[in-house]
Amino acid sequence: MIRVLFFGPVAERVGSSEIQVTFATGMRLQDLHRQMQGMYPAAFEIVCFTAMNGEHVRDMQLPVSDNSEVVFMSKFSGG
């Protein structure tokens, strides 16, 4: 299982702050992104950062391991 988290404006557009996605062998971040984008197109209009297991990820080719925590995030507005 992959835990996918959403926060702030993305969570609002998804209508949920966490969903579970079944892990598949050979899965890459871009596969997960594409799958989520298909399910929540409005939310993914504003997604511009991805984090895996608490770290910023720039390379979407990165493989996803089982039990990972992946977060698709919009631009930050803290401070």
């Binding site: 988290l5 926060f7 702030g8 404006p9 969570a11 609002e12 504003i46 950062f49 984090a51 608490g54 770290e55 910023h56 977060v71 995030m73 919009s74 631009k75 930050f76 507005s77 803290g78 401070g79």
Partner: protein, 146 residues
């Protein structure tokens, strides 16, 4: 060091913070500290032409705290600080209330002032926190960096 228990240098919390308490914890780390620069971000009652009653914050807490710790360590190394502290509130903050606190202490004033400016700029770019403005007309998430 002096027997008092002080709060962590980097924190995300719902409650307000006290500058006196933060500065005194910062100063306790070294008597060589000649300059301390701080920045406090407050909730304005007006933004882009609308009045704002409250601001609500959502955060990816574990990552936000980890990023703030990295920022603190980077600033200490980059500007040769003696110490630095970062506190960010989450939850609901009323107009005029404090949101974020940054303090940088160094032997001399220039590195302290530069580090403080750098820290708040980087915090806005790197730390996963989102604000929603609550106005009499409704609520909306903020996406720009003014």
């Amino acid at each position: 060091m002096n027997g008092r228990t002080t709060k962590a240098e980097v924190r995300i919390q719902q409650e307000d913070f006290s500058q006196d308490e933060e500065i005194s914890a910062l100063r306790a780390s070294s008597k060589r500290m000649g300059g301390i620069a701080t920045f406090i971000g407050c909730a304005r009652d007006f933004s882009e032409g609308r009045s704002v009653a409250k601001i609500s914050f959502d955060a990816y807490g574990s990552m936000a705290e980890a990023e703030m710790k990295k920022l603190r360590a980077e600033a200490i190394a980059r500007f040769t600080l003696l110490d630095a502290r970062i506190v960010h509130r989450v939850g609901v903050v009323g107009a005029g209330e404090q949101i974020v606190f940054i303090a940088a202490g160094a032997e001399h004033r220039a590195p302290a002032l530069q580090a403080c400016h750098w820290l708040i700029d980087e915090l806005k770019l790197r730390v996963p926190i989102w604000k929603k403005e609550i106005t009499p007309e409704g609520e909306s998430w903020v996406t720009s960096h003014p």
